[in-house]
C-alpha cells in the first residue's frame, strides 16, 4: 500500500448526501478480477450521459476538478454494498482523500486498506470547505496526516481532524495489516486452543 503522509491537490465539491457504492461504481464493473482500471467508471452515471459523452455539469468533468485528488462529500458517503471496488475506483481516478460529515462503516474501513484517507468533520466545516472548493480560484488544499490538519486555499486557519491512531500509523507507513497479524500467530494459536476446549463443535469438519 502506498503510504499517505501529506497530500496537496485540488479538492472537488460533491455536496450530495447518501452517495451509495452503486453510484460510486455500478455493479456491472464488479465482474473484474483485478483491482486496477476502475477509474474510468468512477461515478459512471453522474459522469457520463447515456451516449457515453461526459456530462459537462458534473464536477469531475470540469477544470480544475478533473485532476482532483480530494473529494468533499455529503453525509453518509459510501453507504450500501461492501464492494472495495468503490475505493479502488476512487484511487484509480486519483482521489486519495475524501472529506465528509459522516461515512458508512464498511466503506470507511475499505479506504484505509487502500491508502485513501477518509476525514470526518462537523457539517458546518464541511459546508465551509465545500464553499471554498467551489469559489476559490485555485482550490488547492493540503492534507497533513501527521499533524492532522487541513490547510485551506484561502489562507484561513487550518482545520484539525481526528483519526484512529492505529489506522493513522498504518497509513503513514503504508503497512500491510496481514504482515502485522502474522506476527501475532502464537496469540491466535492460543485463542484457538482455548476455544477448541470450550466449544469443540466449532472445530468439526464443516464440508
Amino acid at each position: 500500500m502506498q503510504p499517505f503522509t501529506k497530500l496537496t491537490g485540488i479538492a472537488a465539491p460533491l455536496p450530495m448526501i447518501n452517495v451509495d457504492t452503486d453510484k460510486i461504481i455500478p455493479a456491472k464493473w464488479l465482474k473484474t478480477i483485478k483491482r486496477t482500471g476502475l477509474g474510468v467508471a468512477l461515478f459512471e452515471t453522474l459522469r457520463y450521459a447515456d451516449d457515453g459523452s461526459e456530462r459537462p455539469e458534473f464536477v469531475l468533468n470540469r477544470a480544475p476538478y478533473r485532476s482532483a485528488s480530494i473529494l468533499i462529500a455529503g453525509d453518509n458517503f459510501g453507504c450500501g454494498s461492501s464492494r472495495e471496488h468503490a475505493p479502488w475506483a476512487l484511487l484509480d481516478f486519483g482521489i486519495r482523500c475524501v472529506i465528509a460529515p459522516s461515512f458508512a462503516d464498511i466503506f470507511h474501513n475499505n479506504c484505509f486498506k487502500n491508502g485513501i484517507l477518509p476525514v470526518v468533520l462537523p457539517k458546518e466545516q464541511v459546508d465551509l470547505l465545500t464553499r471554498e472548493a467551489t469559489e476559490a480560484g485555485d482550490p488547492t488544499f493540503t492534507i497533513d496526516l501527521e499533524r492532522q490538519e487541513i490547510v485551506r486555499p484561502t489562507g484561513n486557519a487550518v482545520l484539525k481532524f481526528a483519526v484512529d491512531p492505529h489506522k493513522k500509523h498504518c497509513l503513514l507507513h503504508g503497512l500491510d495489516d496481514i504482515g502485522q497479524t502474522m506476527q501475532r500467530q502464537s496469540m491466535i494459536d492460543g485463542f484457538e486452543a482455548k476455544q477448541r476446549l470450550a466449544a469443540p463443535w466449532l472445530y468439526r469438519e464443516v464440508a
Partner: protein, 468 residues
C-alpha cells in the same frame, strides 16, 4: 467482566484475541463465507505473498452474484461472468476451500445457504465480503460485511482488526396487524432511524414482535440492518433458533448439539445491560410499507402518498428528494397505490426463503399476473427451489404467469442478465432502491413478498390487505 452485558458484548468478549493500547481489537472469526465477486483479488494477494488459507474448513464458497438464473447446464455464456466463476473454482481448488458449485443443488445466495446448512450458529463471529452478512445475526451470531482486503486478512489469519461498535436496541412491542410482515417492520425501522441511524452501532432487535417471528422473518430484519447503516443486527437465540438448527447438515449432532445449546442459552443480554441508544416502535402503528425514492429510508405506508420536497426543511435533504423523485418519475402527492409497475421481482437474501415464496404464492393462487407486467421468482437456493417444487408452489407461480428461475442474487443487484431497462418500474422484495441498482435507469419500489405478489396481480403498487 464486571456488570451486566449485552448479547453483542458477550460475543465480542469471547472473540477477543488481542487489544492494543489505542483500543484497536484483533478479533477471531469463526466462519467465513466467500463468493465470486469480492474474493478474486483476495486470493491473488495470498498467491503473491505465498500465504495459505489458515482454516479452509471454517470457510465456505459459493457463486451467487454473477450466475445466470436460466438453464446453467451448458455453462455461462457471458465471458466476464464465466471467468469470475472459473476463478472462484480454481481458487477453491488451489487453497482447499469447500465450494458449492453452480450445478450443486446446495448452491444459492451466500446468506441463504449459511443458515440452511447449519454453517451459521449462535455465538459465532461470521464475515463475508458482502454487506448483507448482517442476515446471520438472526441466530445471535455477530455477522458483518467486509471489503476484499479484509477477506484476504481473514483467509490468511482467521482474524480481523476492528474497533468495538456501540450497542443499540430496537424494541418492537405489541402484535403485528393483519397483512404486516417482517419486511414491513424493518422498512418502518429504517424509515424511523434513517439510513445512517445505525452507523457505528450493532443493533439488537427485541420485543414481542421479534420473539414471535420465524427464523425467516428474523433473517429479513437482520438482513437490512446495513440499510440503516449498522455494522450488524442481532436477535437473541431461543427455542425457535435451536429448533431451526437441529439436524442441519453442518450443525453439531447429538451430545455436541446439547452442549452447544447449553452455551447458546447463556448468550441473551443480561438484565440491566446498557445500550447507548434505544428506539421503540409500536407494532400496531406499522402498516404494509413501500419505498418511493432511491434510499431505503424513503418509505411510506401503502396508504400514503409520494411526499412533497418543499415540506422538507433541510436543503441537502430537499435536493436529494427532488433528485429521487425526478429519477423515479413520480409527482409529489400521488397516492402510492396509483403507481403503475412493469416488473415484479420475488427473491434475494432479504426475501428468497421458502416462507417468502409461500407468502407470495398465497396471494397469487388462482389469480393472474396483470398483462403488462413481467414477474419472476428467483428462489434463494437450489434447496429452496426444490422444496417449493415439492410443495407445488412452482405450479402456482407458473400458472399465474410468473417466471420460475434458478437460484442466485439476480435482479437484486443486476449483475447478471436479470436487469431493469431504463425507465422500467419494479415492485421488488430486495433490499436496495438505489439509482441504477436493478439496471441502469431502473426504478425500484421495495416491498414484502406478499405486497410484490399483490402488485403483480394488480399491475400497480397495491395494498395486500385487500387481496387476502
Amino acid at each position: 467482566m464486571a456488570g451486566p452485558r449485552t448479547l453483542f458484548d458477550k460475543i465480542w468478549d469471547a472473540h477477543l484475541v488481542d487489544q492494543q493500547a489505542d483500543g484497536t481489537c484483533l478479533i477471531y472469526i469463526d466462519r467465513h463465507l466467500v463468493h465470486e465477486v469480492t474474493s478474486p483479488q483476495a486470493f491473488e494477494g495470498l498467491r503473491q505473498t505465498g500465504r495459505r488459507v489458515r482454516r479452509p474448513e471454517a470457510t465456505l464458497a459459493v457463486p451467487d452474484h454473477n450466475v445466470p438464473t436460466t438453464d446453467r447446464s451448458q455453462g455461462i455464456a457471458e465471458d466476464q461472468s464465466r471467468i469470475q466463476i472459473e476463478t472462484l473454482q480454481q481458487n477453491c481448488r488451489d487453497f482447499g476451500v469447500p465450494l458449492f458449485d453452480v450445478t450443486d443443488i446446495r448452491q444459492g445466495i451466500v446468506h441463504i445457504i449459511g443458515p440452511e446448512q447449519g454453517f451459521t450458529l449462535p455465538g459465532m463471529t461470521i464475515v463475508c465480503g458482502d454487506s448483507h452478512t448482517s442476515t446471520h445475526g438472526a441466530f445471535g451470531a455477530l455477522a458483518f460485511g467486509i471489503g476484499t482486503s479484509e477477506v484476504e486478512h481473514v483467509l490468511a489469519t482467521q482474524t480481523l482488526y476492528q474497533t468495538r461498535p456501540r450497542n443499540m436496541r430496537i424494541t418492537v412491542s405489541g402484535e403485528l396487524p393483519f397483512g404486516v410482515t417482517a419486511k414491513d417492520v424493518i422498512l418502518a425501522i429504517i424509515g424511523t432511524i434513517g439510513t445512517g441511524g445505525g452507523t457505528g452501532y450493532v443493533i439488537e432487535y427485541a420485543g414481542e414482535v421479534i420473539r414471535g417471528l420465524s427464523m425467516a422473518g428474523r433473517m429479513t430484519i437482520c438482513n437490512m440492518s446495513i440499510e440503516a447503516g449498522a455494522r450488524a443486527g442481532l436477535i437473541a437465540p431461543d427455542e425457535v433458533t435451536f429448533d431451526y438448527i437441529k439436524g442441519r447438515p453442518m450443525a453439531p449432532k447429538g451430545g455436541a448439539f446439547e452442549q452447544a445449546v447449553q452455551m447458546w442459552r447463556q448468550l441473551p443480554s443480561d438484565e440491566g445491560a446498557r445500550y447507548e441508544k434505544e428506539v421503540t416502535l409500536a407494532a400496531a402503528e406499522i402498516e404494509p410499507q413501500v419505498t418511493w425514492g432511491t434510499s431505503p429510508q424513503d418509505v411510506v405506508p401503502i396508504t400514503g402518498r409520494v411526499p412533497r420536497p418543499e415540506a422538507e426543511a433541510d436543503p441537502n435533504r430537499r435536493s436529494a428528494m427532488e433528485r429521487s423523485l425526478d429519477y423515479m418519475g413520480l409527482e409529489p402527492g400521488l397516492p402510492m397505490t396509483e403507481i403503475r409497475i412493469d416488473k415484479v421481482f420475488v427473491g434475494s437474501c432479504t426475501n428468497g426463503r421458502i416462507e417468502d415464496l409461500r407468502a407470495a404464492a398465497k396471494v397469487i393462487s388462482g389469480k393472474r399476473v396483470a398483462p403488462h407486467v413481467q414477474a419472476m421468482v428467483v428462489p434463494g437456493s437450489g434447496l429452496v427451489k426444490h422444496q417449493a417444487e415439492e410443495e407445488g408452489l412452482d405450479r402456482i407461480f407458473i400458472e399465474a404467469g410468473f417466471e420460475w428461475r434458478e437460484a442466485g442474487c439476480s435482479m437484486c443487484l443486476g449483475m447478471n442478465p436479470d436487469q431493469l431497462k431504463p425507465g422500467e418500474r419494479c415492485a421488488s422484495t430486495s433490499n436496495r432502491n438505489f439509482e441504477g441498482r436493478q439496471g441502469k435507469g431502473g426504478r425500484t419500489h421495495l416491498v414484502s413478498p406478499a405486497m410484490a405478489a399483490a402488485a403483480a396481480v394488480a399491475g400497480h403498487i397495491a395494498d395486500v390487505r385487500k387481496f387476502v
